[in-house]
């Protein structure tokens, strides 16, 4: 076991799960939220020629997904280092 204590191992996993939960909440809100569930009210706003809900469904959610993965990879790298379990 790479951790100094059992405590550390649990804390590391908790931090990972919490970060994931935040990321997945955003993931859900932009795609299922803005793109599907709230698409009708959002469509009364416009982004150029795009109705806003339509934009989230066909453009915005994809950009957000890309950002989410890189933020997760970066934050996890920091957490890995903090607990001394990094691989690079």
């Amino acid at each position: 076991m790479a951790f100094k204590t059992e405590e550390d191992a649990r804390a590391y996993w908790r931090r990972n799960v919490r970060l994931m939960a935040i990321m997945l909440t955003i993931w859900f809100l932009v795609s299922f939220g803005c793109g599907i569930l709230f698409v009708e009210p959002l469509n009364s706003f416009h982004l150029g020629g795009y109705p806003l809900g339509f934009w989230f469904a066909q453009q915005g959610s994809i950009y957000t997904f890309v950002v989410l993965i890189f933020v997760y990879a970066w934050r996890m790298g920091v957490i890995d280092r903090e607990f001394g379990v990094h691989d690079d």
Binding site: A2, Y12, G49, F54, Q58, A73, M76, D80, D87, D88
Partner: protein
């Protein structure tokens, strides 16, 4: 031979020569190189290869065409096929890479300490991969039928022959480098015509911006104009056309997302990078490369629809005469994928939403992307490039899938379970025989594809979502999950999904064997069969959790294994064994 055909042969021939050159240069010398490319691929390169591996004929040829006719409803493909990478990067890829084996069933066999679980996983993998290959075959058939100007069936057979020759050359190492080249070909082929058309219609070179801009020489937004054109002909407004219901769209998107994360040929790509942190980044890079195409696709879709409509009916009430139809119209008629019927005998083409008066009796959605540059009147080399791109997309995915099928049979079934003593040579031979068999079956079923290419592929995602994703996720996130739960979950998930699909589309997709009885189509809360994977996955999770609580917990060393895969440090290169 027409100039276009000569040009197509040159461009497609040149790209083929390139792929084969790379495949020969980088061919695999060991089973480790054959299955996971020696686990030494840079994350950016791996991201690019993953993008090519995963963006198939469905993404390239079929998706924009479907969106063109589904409008907002087509968003399920856009969100579903990208959002899955977020799940993959956070829930699966790093942990499975840490485990460091060759195949997905191998992980399931180790984690659930059971050869039976491994066999069940192999069966699920084969069912979803073969369904997926059928979708590719449809795409390849469409591309070849148009550019060789033959019937769809003949195009399909030519496609099967090419995929066969190509895949047998492969091995993961060759496939990875070839896929990088294929990505470059397919993304260029997709964006160049999109940029041209966006410039023509809106004066803006970026299609992502063009779609939200005003039409050249007017202050009407392109999407508003499109909405107006389609509603005048009685179709639903483009930007608010819902696919069956919001609930169906929700479930459909979810199904594609977790299917993406559960598809074995995508997951094994993450076994090829050196480290766990690389697996996370690599998923991000893959999505960057995928997003380039996926954010362009909605523009291609809307612009193709608009161009098609305004070609047939330049001004309201003024119809194109059938005798004056453009060349592309005639060429696609020859493939049988486009059909005109002069119902009122006036020699004009009336296109409307009303089946009684509509004279465009068949417009196969899968022809839209390929026909798009022709409809817009772009130069022949662009059209040839699109053909090469479509074929690259189909080939790269078919190769990845065939590798997943072949490794499941040779590595998991033969070497792992039935004949542990076989030599490397026999194992490789078995792989190739398995590939050939899979192409044959998929090609045969491809004569009667259950849906448009993207629809068929969506089915494959549903099957992966309902069987493989839940057990992988629970294997990492729950130490309590045991072999009984996993097996019961996989079997329930895939059975429920298959029953719903076969009930609608026929047993093994063979027409005439649907058994709907007295039930309405989409009877389950108006969820269509392509979207049912998410429901299947729910069944999988539920059954697995209940069964595992009623049976003995997994042994101590399995709980240690879970602890071990949860942290990045201590990764070994994917081991030989």
């Amino acid at each position: 031979m027409s100039e276009l055909q000569i040009m197509t042969f040159i461009v497609v021939g040149a790209t083929f020569a390139l792929y084969i050159g790379i495949a020969v240069w980088a061919r695999a010398g060991s089973t480790k190189e054959f299955y996971v490319a020696g686990a030494g691929i840079h994350p950016v390169a791996n991201g690019m290869a993953t993008a090519a591996d995963w963006m198939s004929a469905a993404s390239f040829i079929s998706m924009a065409g479907l969106i063109a006719f589904m409008g907002y409803g087509g968003s399920v493909f856009l969100m579903g096929w990208t959002g899955g990478y977020v799940l993959l990067a956070m829930l699966l890829a790093p942990y499975l890479r840490k485990h460091g084996k060759f195949t997905v069933p191998e992980f399931i066999g180790d984690r659930y300490y059971s050869k039976a679980a491994r066999i069940v996983a192999v069966l699920c993998l084969i069912i979803c991969s073969v369904t997926y290959v059928i979708g590719q075959m449809k795409g390849v058939g469409v591309a070849f039928s148009r550019f060789l100007e033959v019937e769809y069936g003949t195009g399909l057979i030519v496609g099967m022959a090419v995929v066969f020759t190509y895949a047998v050359l492969g091995g993961m190492k060759g496939i990875t480098y070839t896929q990088i080249a294929q990505y470059c070909v397919l993304i260029t082929a997709y964006t160049i015509p999109a940029v041209f058309i966006s410039l023509q219609l809106t004066g803006h070179p970026l299609p992502q911006i063009g779609l939200g801009s005003t039409m050249t020489g007017s202050d009407t937004y392109l999407l508003d104009r499109l909405n107006q054109v389609v509603t005048e002909l009685g179709f639903t407004e483009y930007t608010s056309q819902v696919q069956i219901s919001y609930f169906n769209m929700f479930v459909y998107t979810m199904s594609l997302m977790i299917g993406t994360a559960g598809l074995p040929h995508v997951i094994i790509r993450f076994f090829t990078v050196p480290k766990v942190s690389d697996a996370r980044k690599s998923a991000g890079w893959a999505l960057v490369f995928i997003a380039l195409l996926y954010t362009t696709a909605p523009a291609v879709a809307a612009m193709a629809r608009l161009n098609l409509m305004t070609t047939i009916e330049p001004e309201p009430g003024q119809y194109l005469a059938y005798d004056e139809r453009p060349t592309w119209f005639k060429k696609w008629e020859a493939t049988g994928l486009l059909e005109y019927q002069d119902k009122n005998g006036d020699g004009l083409i009336q296109y409307s939403a009303d089946p009684a008066t509509n004279e465009m009796v068949k417009v196969d959605r899968d022809i839209m992307v390929l026909a798009n540059p022709e409809i817009a009147g772009l130069p022949n080399w662009v059209i040839a490039l699109v053909a090469a791109g479509g074929i690259a997309a189909a080939l790269s995915t078919a190769a990845g899938l065939l590798l997943a099928i072949a490794s499941a049979i040779s590595h998991d079934l033969l070497k792992g379970v039935f004949m542990p003593g076989i030599s490397e040579r026999t194992e490789l031979m078995a792989s190739r025989v398995a590939m050939a068999g899979a192409i044959g079956v998929a090609g045969y079923l491809g004569f009667n594809p259950p849906d448009f290419a993207a629809g068929t592929v969506a089915l494959a995602f549903g099957l992966a979502a309902s069987s493989i994703f839940p057990v992988l996720m629970m294997g990492i996130f729950s130490k309590r999950m045991n072999k009984y739960g996993a097996m019961a979950g996989m079997i329930t998930g895939i059975t429920v999904t298959l029953l719903y699909v076969f009930q609608h589309k026929g047993i093994m997709f063979i027409p005439g064997t649907e058994f709907l009885g007295d039930m309405k189509p989409n009877w389950f809360f108006s969820v269509e069969p392509n979207a049912f994977g998410a429901i299947g996955a729910l069944f999988n999770f539920a059954v697995a959790i209940v069964v595992s609580r009623l049976t003995a917990p997994p042994p101590e060393h399995i709980q240690d294994l879970v602890e071990h895969i949860r942290i990045p440090v201590g990764v070994a290169a994917a081991h030989d064994h």
